[in-house]
């Protein structure tokens, strides 16, 4: 038995798992409907796929949510996992699920997939026969993704960097890399049985003034870590920056460089997709304004040429949205996409060149680390500040980089810290901003820049 299979047996011999049947699950994946695989939809559909967010604790409520989404002509269904399951606290998740079922009050902020188990969940997934995307935020997702794939969920979001640096203060990053290596290998192995399992990275990160070069570098590195384990379908992603031009430039550069770096590791056979997140920062309280913002995000996603868009709702500012509000965004977004035709082709060569140089310089510095494997190089690069994510709460992150918005609302780096931004690019970034200000007014600007959509 391989080491991986031994580890899988240990992970799945968990008191919260009801007798995992490896052979039956493999047989299920092998014969599963092609419609459940988002990788197949990417191949065959020539429209941008629309995917909302959403997860409720009970089977009944999740089922009802999916009915609303299907009614609204959804392309991809979400399954958002509750925070106890994300932190591997299955005991609490189980207890809260029971309370939610008995009292008709939601005691969890998502669907506790491990507590429901794959036999139950699979009934729902196969009933709707739509691709489902797993949304979580789990550093150790080994048990969760085994359960997900066994349920018929063939898209797994996340990654060792993007699910750790925005969410955790002190979960060990090196452990996260190893846990995600397991996830990649399990996804790669199942991909051989039918259509590929799609992996998706979480580009929004902290969604707070993250400069494009940092987002792209992390997307490319998680893509490479995934492809080198044998994953054949991968989505890089990012969220609306606040400047339409910057979004378009980012889209162009990330598409070009994803192909380039996949080829560098002889993985050109893998399909790479681009996912765009509607505005991930603070939303306006005014629900009509929120709808305007959502609509604008959809237009930008089209300009960017995204393969999938992940939607928000008019209730974003006030908490977990109702299924009605959630389905409404899906219908509205599909409408906007249908009537949005004849888009102009916008190219900003100078901005593309600057961004490409920045990304390549940081990637180069990561590869030049003396460690023997890619994940160790990436780990060291985060540890020594070559990769620095603004507003990450994690203790390993340097927090030396400072970013602000320029007059056109582009995110610019005014202090690079230890990130190897080439001098020419650094001068260009700073030249777009008013640097004569003192720190107090810069802090006030940052507060304003974070909340630009409110």
């Amino acid at each position: 038995m391989s080491l991986l299979q031994e580890e899988r047996k240990i992970i799945l011999s968990n008191e919260y798992v009801d007798a995992f049947d490896f052979a039956e699950v493999a047989e299920f994946v092998k014969n599963a409907s092609k419609d459940l695989f988002i990788s197949n939809h990417f191949k065959t559909k020539n429209k941008m796929l629309v995917q909302p967010r959403g997860g409720f604790p009970t089977y009944k409520k999740q089922f009802a949510l999916y009915e609303f989404f299907v009614e609204a002509n959804v392309d991809v269904l979400p399954l958002t996992i509750d925070s106890n399951t994300r932190l591997n606290d299955y005991a609490t998740a189980k207890k809260m699920l029971r309370l939610s079922e008995e009292n008709d009050v939601d005691m969890l902020n998502g669907y506790p997939l491990v507590s429901h188990g794959y036999r139950t969940t699979r009934k729902m997934i196969t009933h709707f026969n739509k691709p489902v995307s797993l949304r979580h935020g789990t550093p150790d997702a080994r048990l969760l993704i085994e359960t997900a794939i066994a349920s018929g969920i063939f898209e797994i979001e996340g990654g060792p960097i993007t699910y750790l640096l925005p969410y955790s203060k002190n979960f060990p990053l090196d452990k996260a890399f190893l846990y995600w290596k397991y996830v990649e290998r399990v996804c790669a192995n199942y991909s051989e049985l039918n259509e590929p399992i799609n992996r998706e990275s979480f580009g929004p990160l902290t969604a707070t003034l993250v400069p494009p070069c940092i987002t792209i570098v992390i997307q490319l590195l998680e893509m490479m870590l995934s492809l080198e384990e044998g994953v054949k379908s991968f989505s890089v992603s990012f969220s609306q920056t606040g400047s339409m031009n910057q979004d378009i430039v980012m889209g162009a550069v990330i598409k070009k460089l994803a192909k380039h770096y996949a080829a560098e590791i002889d993985c050109s056979d893998a399909a790479i997709h681009l996912v765009y997140h509607q505005w991930m920062g603070a939303f306006p309280m005014n629900k009509d304004y929120a709808e305007q913002l959502i609509n604008m995000s959809t237009v930008i996603a089209s300009m960017v040429g995204a393969d999938k868009i992940i939607t928000k709702t008019r209730e974003e500012a006030s908490g977990i949205p109702t299924k009605e509000a959630n389905a409404k965004t899906v219908a509205n977004t599909q409408y906007t996409l249908r009537i949005l035709n004849g888009l102009p082709n916008v190219v900003d060569e100078e901005e593309e060149e600057i961004l490409t140089l920045e990304v390549k310089a940081i990637m180069e510095a990561v590869f030049n680390d003396s460690a023997d494997t890619l994940w160790r190089k990436v780990f060291n690069s985060i540890k020594n500040g070559i990769i620095d994510v603004p507003f990450s709460p994690h203790i390993i992150n340097h927090n030396e980089m400072i970013t602000v918005r320029d007059a056109k609302k582009n995110i610019r780096i005014i202090k690079r810290g230890s990130v190897p931004i080439p001098d020419r690019c650094y001068e260009y970034e700073k030249a777009q901003c008013d640097l004569a200000k003192d720190t107090t007014s810069i802090v006030n600007d940052i507060v304003h820049d974070i909340g630009i959509m409110q």
Binding site: Y167, K169, N170, T206, T208, P390, F391, S392, P393, I395, N399, I402, D438, T439, T440, I442, V443, N444, I446, V447, I450
Partner: protein
């Protein structure tokens, strides 16, 4: 002057924490930022370890109320913290509340300066005035 800062309890509101850090440095303080998700013991331990004169706790998710009640008892266990300037700021209650009720309550918990939903720079101005006054009082003694 040395300042310890951080976000108390299971609260991960990192944006305010980073901005407090930046602003304190801009005003010439030496900052020891413990980050988000910090427990009271860690704040006091850090104050002893660094010899800081100011402790600035921030809180946004309403957890401060629970932790505030522990401050006096816990601080009394440390022998060298009697002169530590204690400041707390942010959104100090769950839901809505008014400053007239909240400020005296937190002063009673052992905080010298209480800023409920006060603008960051206004709060730091108050801190600087408080430090000056304290210096004057000392030299007058």
């Amino acid at each position: 002057m040395k300042v310890i800062t951080g976000v108390v309890g299971n609260d991960i509101h990192v944006v305010a924490n980073r901005l407090i850090d930046l602003s304190l440095r801009a005003r010439g303080f030496e900052v020891f930022n413990l980050g988000v998700n910090t427990y009271l013991e860690e704040f006091f331990d850090a104050a002893v370890e660094t010899g800081a004169e100011v402790l600035l706790i921030s809180s946004l998710n309403g957890e401060a109320e629970g932790w505030g009640r522990e401050v006096k008892a816990l601080k009394a266990k440390y022998k060298t913290l009697d002169d530590l300037i204690m400041m707390i700021g942010g959104n100090l209650v769950v839901g809505s509340g008014n400053a007239e009720d909240i400020v005296p309550r937190y002063k009673n918990y052992g905080f010298d300066l209480v800023c409920h939903q006060v603008d960051l720079n206004t709060g730091l101005d108050l801190l600087e005035v408080f430090i000056e006054d304290k210096k004057l009082q000392k030299s007058n003694k």
